[in-house]
């Protein structure tokens, strides 16, 4: 890579290969059709090609690659969740993330920073201790750090006691990292396209062909799009905020509410904050990107909307809390703001695996925790689509769990009140 840079630097013209070659018209039929060209869909296509040698795959994306939630999150990667199911699953994802730059031959700027979840109350300290013990049991670096030590580790924060929520301690997770999120989508997409997967952008799914629907939910046989109908052996839907609408086309309902999650970045500053700092009580998370921008997010919007608009309420609320942690940034300007449409489940855990429709699989319920799960989702979805078996890591997240009253209760999720 550095030699290529040198070579192109010395020549006047350089040609950049097209990462997503236009596949042309839709074929009449594909073995596997993936609805949704976000990180999860592209990662699934990538691992189908790489791990299983299956390349008769179409990824259908209504917009463009990287335009959805993959490019709208705050790019935090961690595995210090609360439930054993969640911890094992996200730990595998972190493990895969570490190798992605090599796998793609493309730098995703994976940067381990250390992740601190602040505790401001005795009950929060108790929960952090609980999380640390669950994490350690599964071999994950995670520990409770009390205020005096924390002050040495993250000296940038305001530790005074005359604030609304004084800092008592934090859950410290050393492997907590950030990455360049659009590079993750591009890397998976380009890798899949290079191996023969067709990535169709500007292709909207308008319905499904389902056979034998008498008495049961039937079997999917085709996908209708604005560019024509294609036959499909198996279908995976991975469409985040649009999950309810797409599932309705396939004829079933989901336990999801689509709620916007807003975020923003500041103007670039000299590097001063190496840690990723999160506070559940204050509904704040902040990290400094490699460009020097502070990447900031808060809680999801108070009610559901299918929009990616930004509101003043959100920024006022977020800044009020953020300035309690970092008072010295009060003169810093905001540079950009945006929102993504999250699909929230009642137990803050995802929905993965089989659906009432045969050969129709789902990857949904990714709320505010989808980006960090991208590699493991791709890997497990690919395995499921290739072999028909639902792996142990994703078994607990089956849609069936709601019918069995067997919820996961993932209270380690971000941006949600507990």
């Amino acid at each position: 890579m550095p030699f290529a840079l040198l070579k192109h630097g010395l020549t006047r013209r350089r040609s950049v290969p097209d990462a997503f070659p236009e596949p042309g018209d839709l074929k009449d039929s594909y073995d596997i059709v993936i609805v949704g060209g976000g990180g999860h869909g592209l990662a699934t296509a990538y691992y189908l090609a790489v791990d299983h040698g299956i390349t008769d795959v179409a990824v259908l994306e209504r917009g463009y690659i990287g335009g959805g939630n993959t490019g709208r999150n705050t790019a935090i990667i961690r595995s210090n969740y609360l439930t054993p199911e969640g911890v094992k699953f996200y730990d595998e994802s972190v493990r895969l993330y570490k190798d992605l730059s090599n796998d793609f031959d493309m730098n995703i700027l994976y940067s381990e920073r250390g992740h601190y979840t602040l505790a401001h109350t005795d009950s929060a300290i108790r929960t952090m201790r609980w999380r640390a013990e669950v994490n350690k049991h599964f071999g994950i670096e995670s520990e409770l750090v009390m205020r005096d030590d924390l002050q040495k580790m993250v000296p940038q924060l305001d530790y005074s006691e005359d604030v609304r929520y004084p800092i008592l301690g934090a859950l410290y997770h050393a492997p907590g990292a950030i990455a360049r999120h659009d590079a993750v989508a591009w890397g998976y997409g380009a890798g899949a396209a290079r191996r023969g997967v067709h990535i169709h952008q500007n292709t909207e799914v308008t319905g499904f062909e389902i056979s034998g629907a008498n008495g049961h939910a039937g079997r999917v046989t085709g996908v209708k799009t604005n560019r024509g109908t294609i036959r499909a052996g198996k279908v995976l839907q991975a469409v985040a905020g649009m999950s309810g609408e797409v599932a309705a086309m396939a004829g079933f309902r989901l336990p999801l509410k689509t709620v916007p999650l807003q975020a923003c970045v500041s103007q670039p500053l000299k590097p001063f904050l190496d840690a990723i700092v999160v506070s559940g009580s204050l509904h704040v998370y902040v990290s400094q990107s490699s460009r020097g921008e502070l990447v900031m997010g808060g809680s999801t919007d108070p009610y559901g909307v299918y929009m990616t608009r930004s509101t003043l309420d959100f920024k006022e609320g977020l800044m009020m809390h953020l300035l309690e942690l970092l008072p010295f940034i009060s003169e810093v300007k905001l540079l950009r703001q945006w929102a993504g449409m999250t699909d929230m489940t009642p137990d803050f855990a995802p929905i993965m695996g089989e659906t009432p429709v045969d050969n129709y699989y789902i990857d949904a319920g990714w709320g505010t925790w989808g980006f960090k799960a991208t590699p493991v989702c791709g890997k497990e979805n690919a395995r499921m689509l290739a072999t028909g078996e639902v792996g142990d890591l994703i078994q607990p997240f089956a849609l069936q769990r709601y019918h069995d009253f067997n919820l996961v209760g993932e209270k380690g999720a971000a941006s949600v009140g507990h």
Binding site: S243, E245, P255, L256, Y306
Partner: protein, 91 residues
């Protein structure tokens, strides 16, 4: 800030309200398992015009609003009693 036209208090900042979810039928007490799951967990999650319960927190007042979830426009509101009288069973 966005304004909610409350049937009791008039136009107020939307931060004074909480959303109570889409209006739906409470299943009968002797309903089967599937109906109960449907009521407790499953959502229409409609991208379009929906009717939903809203609550004005300072005055502890429940009412129904019609809202377009694609544009966040509030189209109409009813006091709960008027809504139930108008739509009764078919809501």
């Amino acid at each position: 800030m966005k304004i909610m036209p409350c049937p009791l208090n008039g136009p107020r900042n939307i931060s004074e309200f909480s959303c109570g979810g889409e209006v739906e039928h409470l299943p009968p007490p002797d309903c089967d398992h599937a109906q109960w799951i449907d009521y407790v967990y499953l959502e229409n999650n409609t991208a379009g015009i929906i009717r939903e319960w809203w609550y004005h927190t300072p005055t502890a007042y429940w009412f129904v609003a019609e809202r377009d979830t694609r544009t966040d426009e509030i189209l109409r509101t009813w006091p709960a009693g008027d809504f139930l009288a108008e739509f009764g069973e078919e809501r």
